[in-house]
Symmetry: C2
Subunit: 307 residues, 2 copies
């Protein structure tokens, strides 16, 4: 490693359903080192979380020093390491004093897990995204508008006066994955390749007639069988239809508002293209940076508790 063990002040962890990511942190918000492992929450029994974490961060721990480990994500769910009960929106994103302490055997770590947020009506939940939102509000404390976090389960979050006012989740990424890898459409969908016009046409079709999505899914298969629809075109069109019906449903979120996108460049770019076509201004923020800012804010607010 290119840094000294004594530079390590804390460890940031984003522990999701399928992946475990950790960042070795010094005094600044830039990580000294990034780590990841495929040991997501869903793969672990309750007593396997500590060993999985130590396997990843063990080389960065020192004798006689207790390092705070600040975690967000599904690690705090009922099936996780220790349940961190949801906050209820409207509320500000969680800070460190609201964390749940996980009991550990290793004396060199103190593990804190951030709660997720639930919304009673319409029923919705998030775990992990609230920390990215917290990070965004660290960077832009006066932000008033909508944050969209595209991914497997895309979240739309309405922010006002530093609070999460309401939010809504869409299974768009998971639907795309199921349809393109597990359904009859898998024979017609390319693993890569892109046709921007086909994507935007799909968005437009779905936004103007959302019900047509139900009909047009098999239409992709049929067009590839009898009308030589290319696999790249099919992939773009499917993506457009699914993001289009999401945008039709999320209209109350984005209409007349500025939208900040937090997500991987490729998928966030697709949302930006579709929203810009609707005359909506978008800005992009980096997922990892927002996560680290959010975890750092939590860490800073609980520093008296770190031992």
């Amino acid at each position: 490693m290119e840094f000294s063990p004594k530079d390590i002040k804390w460890i940031a962890v984003d522990w999701g359903t399928t992946n475990l990511r950790a960042w070795v942190m010094g005094t600044e918000n830039e990580p000294l080192h990034s780590l990841d492992a495929p040991h997501g929450m869903a793969t672990l029994g309750r007593d396997e979380f500590e060993p999985a974490l130590i396997a990843l961060i063990g080389p960065y721990l020192s004798a006689n020093v207790v390092i705070p480990v600040i975690c967000c994500g599904m690690v705090g769910s009922r099936q996780g390491w220790a349940e961190a009960s949801y906050l209820t929106s409207p509320c500000a994103p969680p800070i460190g004093t609201l964390t749940t302490r996980a009991s550990v055997k290793n004396p060199r770590i103190a593990v804190f897990i951030l709660p997720g947020i639930k919304q009673i009506k319409p029923a919705d939940v998030m775990r992990g995204e609230e920390t990215q939102v917290a990070g965004y509000l660290q960077q832009y404390p006066d932000f008033d508008g909508v944050i969209c976090l595209p991914g497997t389960h895309t979240k739309w979050v309405h922010i006002s006066a530093g609070e999460i006012v309401s939010f809504q989740t869409f299974m768009t990424g998971e639907l795309f994955s199921l349809l393109s890898y597990k359904s009859i459409l898998r024979h017609s969908i390319a693993a890569d390749g892109w046709d921007s016009a086909a994507y935007l046409e799909g968005v437009e079709d779905a936004m103007s007639r959302p019900q047509s999505v139900a009909a047009q899914l098999f239409g992709i298969r049929a067009a590839s069988l009898i009308a030589d629809l290319s696999c790249a075109n099919a992939r773009s069109r499917l993506s457009g239809l699914l993001i289009g019906i999401e945008l039709a449903a999320a209209r109350p979120y984005w209409l007349g508002r500025n939208v900040a996108l937090i997500g991987a460049d490729a998928i966030a770019g697709l949302y930006a293209d579709a929203l810009n076509q609707q005359g909506v201004n978008t800005s992009m923020a980096d997922t990892q940076k927002m996560t680290l800012l959010g975890l750092a804010a939590a860490k800073n607010s609980l520093k008296d508790l770190a031992n």
Copy 2:
């Protein structure tokens, strides 16, 4: 067997993507015996079709007799036993003279495969359902209206003057299966149990606001996590949302028309409930009976070619 080999006049076969079904037939349209095997088209290479068929029907063949075997379904696709090129709608359902002869090694069978039907715009295809439609038109030659065939890929077929005028396919059954067994919703969806009110409410929600389906899918998961939504209720609601958005898109088919449903009782009953709620009259026909009537009509029209 409770019948004599000399009673066997022909064999009817419905050979789909995942299953092979065969019926040993005498002179009447009631089968002497029903057979099935999990050897669907997708599981077989081209030279494996004849052995799979013989493994199933071999015990019913006699020396020195050539038995006609009339097949419909994916067995006639490009990846099937022998490609039976699509007819193009508008057209009448196929008759025996339009069959493709599969080459066989066994001298005791003569195998005929019915073509599917394609529609150029909007692009769509069917293989197998056209034979059920043919059977329905055997029973009701003057039928003018819409036939709906619910299943993995539900078909809506507009019939006029004995012809398939247009049709449209929906992936509703496959979507339900993917979402309830392969997605995050699998944790919230019962394998059985039913709540009729939740189903009809889902239909109504999706028909009145089709785009809301995108939002309400994850809502099922969230409601089961934080609002004690029962697994049976979740299953019914998911089914209602998916059938509801299909009905919204298929409105030009069913609006102001009588609808004949051909499908398994449970799923056809769901469509009937939803359509009746919209003031649409429905009737039900038995899938196997329609398939056999359609295959029998094809057999009768090619009897001169049976050797």
